[in-house]
Symmetry: C2
Subunit: 427 residues, 2 copies
């Protein structure tokens, strides 16, 4: 298989919500309370909600910027590629990158819908959340059939409401929901409680994948305030191992045998070690910890339930025989700074080269299609869905990196968590 | 190679300090303040220091207990195998397990010498610490030449004192020192400061390995208080990845090019993923984070400086071609609950089988001998150092698991961090 023959479906990208997303979708009362974009005197734009300015219009939406400016969040929509928030431009950016399909996590709403959770008036909160999900499925995912995998945001303050939203969105063809890798860190019950059972049951019944993105517990891995920021960037994906361990040892998978969860942006190269460790702990310690997986091993339970996801992971491909081959997914991460855009096909081919075509197809798109109830080929014939065919439609898309000149880090030496916090305070 | 032909040197075991360890080693003033063992009315024994009872006489020293009691710390010396604290019995327990050499971390003193750091009178603290190290090198490691790799405890309150202690111990043939994976978590400067430079320079100069044991930041990985304790046990080794990332991105290795650190009990199967991630972050983000490794990649820097260590890790052996073959070390972890004692040779052979003899020898003992300045064959001919030869000397050692009947966990269902905390409070 050549680069041009790949068919790429990414199960981890990000939408930056446009300022008009709630327009025409709310009652007068909710419209009054809805988040809106305010332009500040210094040209910066912020989302306002409940009297508070939210820190970024688009967290780390740096696609197309020069790498010297990667650590800077965009301060205004004008600092982003329009593909971040405009669906027509997004499709063009996908085409130039040879990407057929894409699942998009929220920015404004938070990875776990923390925006809506933060609203004290829960009648308003649920109306806003439903409008948000409707916008996502209709205006973001519905305009170009066969291109976008929809992803719902759940009302995490009420497990019954979550179940209802999963069912409602399922009826609209949305079979993925974003949630937190560690809900306890958000002040909610942990995976070990039975609080989430109605939500989990609804996901199992509707065939809805629960997508757990790295950072979705709102905690970043800061080893020390003076640690170079590279430390945090290195650790953040693998840190989702904590969620994986929580889930396997919790009652969740044993209670909901058909449930699927995705470890979004978690990488895969560390997973075989983790599976071996799970089984060692089970065999070595179960006599006193009282764990019981019946006739299975915990590694099997992981492989039955967990969808693994990676951006760039040659080691993971090397050791993939330890993983469920139907559960490995490729990701692009547009427009975040770890993304391989616009060279995703070439980057992917580096580690896919030499694999059987069957394996390449599973990793690049067939698993995403099967697990997320996505059917692109109903709309786009396969021969028009390849990297070569999509790129041929996008010869006019300019991918030259641009500078927005909003201050680089060169003068500050090694960038640490403290450097970033200080810059944020100066903004 | 057959099981009986293996030569095993473990770079991670634990000594439980005997009650008389300070005897005859202190001035009258220090002797008055030294830790001592008190027997309580309920038969329990505790170390007393500075007016406080320390929680355990031997943290997790469960070797030889029935697995149903693994989670229970021994409440008295009588609940431990004498091999935990008696050097003559320890050698017999090593022989029956076919283990030639062993490096022992402290129990009472803490992985980073926190015991001495906790003493406000630093004149007393340093006298106690030096007496402790003298006891370790003379009475624990000096009695059976060629069997024990000595390990010093550092005075972490003063980097110059640390340097002096490293040099003092180096002169006694001790070329390993225990330290914290994250000193900031102990209220000390992080790896990123230059505070530790005198200590690091002394280690480099004396050829002393800095051993960073999992848990040595005094932090355990608790995802949620109601998480099964299996979660923490699964995660604790791999959590040392945070320390690995800290070190690679810190100035430490670039400032001290011959320094070696060991990630004790960290496992190795996750390392190849981590190395790939380091290089991806470097190549993808260095333009704004301002990192500079000259003509090297961060993965190379890791492989030059970091000694990797594992107890049982078939995946790690499979992917070892990504690691420095001269830096991989086997561990036994006697007498902790993750230990493979007394079946270590058989457990090791499961994943070593089929490897070239050269590779097996490096992993099981040659790397430990080279990196820790240990010379067992000066005292014991190689043919008397094999599993088969050592076991032949120990045919009278009884390894039958025993119960101390101090309350199992069966009645409590799944054991969580909360369960353990409540039991500890009831003691």
């Amino acid at each position: 298989m050549q680069v041009d023959d790949l068919v790429l479906v990414s199960v981890d990208d990000h939408v930056v919500e446009p300022p008009d997303l709630f327009e025409g979708r709310l009652s007068a009362k909710a419209a009054e309370r809805a988040p809106f974009v305010r332009k500040l005197e210094n040209g910066r734009e912020v989302w306002m909600f409940e009297g508070t300015a939210l820190p970024n219009v688009g967290l780390n939406a740096v696609a197309g910027r020069v790498p010297e400016e990667y650590g800077l969040d965009p301060l205004a929509f004008s600092e982003m590629r329009p593909g971040c928030y405009d669906i027509h431009e997004r499709i063009r950016d996908m085409n130039v990158n040879g990407v057929l399909g894409s699942l998009n996590f929220p920015s404004l709403a938070g990875f776990t819908g923390q925006l809506f959770y933060s609203c004290d008036d829960k009648d308003i909160a649920i109306e806003l959340l439903r409008a948000y999900n409707d916008w996502h499925v209709e205006d973001w995912c519905g305009v170009y059939p066969g291109r976008m995998i929809p992803l719902a945001v759940p009302p995490i303050w009420d497990a019954e409401l979550m179940a209802a939203e999963v069912r409602r969105m399922g009826e609209k063809g949305c079979h993925a929901v974003t949630f937190s890798e560690n809900p306890e860190k958000l002040g909610r019950p942990s995976w070990h409680s039975d609080y989430w059972d109605p939500f989990l049951a609804a996901c199992e019944e509707a065939g809805t994948v629960i997508c757990l993105h790295i950072g979705s517990s709102s905690q970043t891995v800061i080893t020390a305030m003076d640690a170079p920021i590279d430390t945090m960037i290195t650790l953040q994906p693998m840190n989702i191992v904590q969620c994986a361990a929580d889930l396997v040892w919790s009652p969740v998978f044993r209670k909901f045998p058909r449930l699927k969860v995705a470890l979004s942006e978690g990488g895969i190269g560390w997973v075989p070690y983790f599976l071996e460790r799970l089984d060692y702990v089970y065999q070595h310690h179960r006599a006193w910890t009282n764990q019981d997986f019946g006739d299975k091993l915990p590694s099997q339970v992981f492989n039955e339930h967990v969808l693994t996801c990676f951006i760039d992971d040659a080691v993971g491909i090397e050791v993939r025989h330890h993983l469920n081959p139907d559960h490995i997914h490729w990701e692009c991460d547009y427009p975040h700074s770890d993304s391989t855009w616009p060279y995703a096909p070439e980057m992917a081919m580096k580690y896919l080269e030499g694999l059987p075509d069957e394996d390449i197809d599973r990793i690049t798109h067939r698993n995403a299609i099967a697990n997320f109830g996505f059917d692109p080929f109903a709309h786009i014939p396969r021969e028009q869905a390849t990297v070569g065919a999509l790129r041929a439609q996008a010869t006019d898309v300019d991918t030259t990196p641009v500078s927005h000149g909003t201050g680089k880090f060169q003068e500050e030496g090694i960038v640490t968590a403290m450097t970033l916090a200080e810059r944020m305070a100066r903004k």
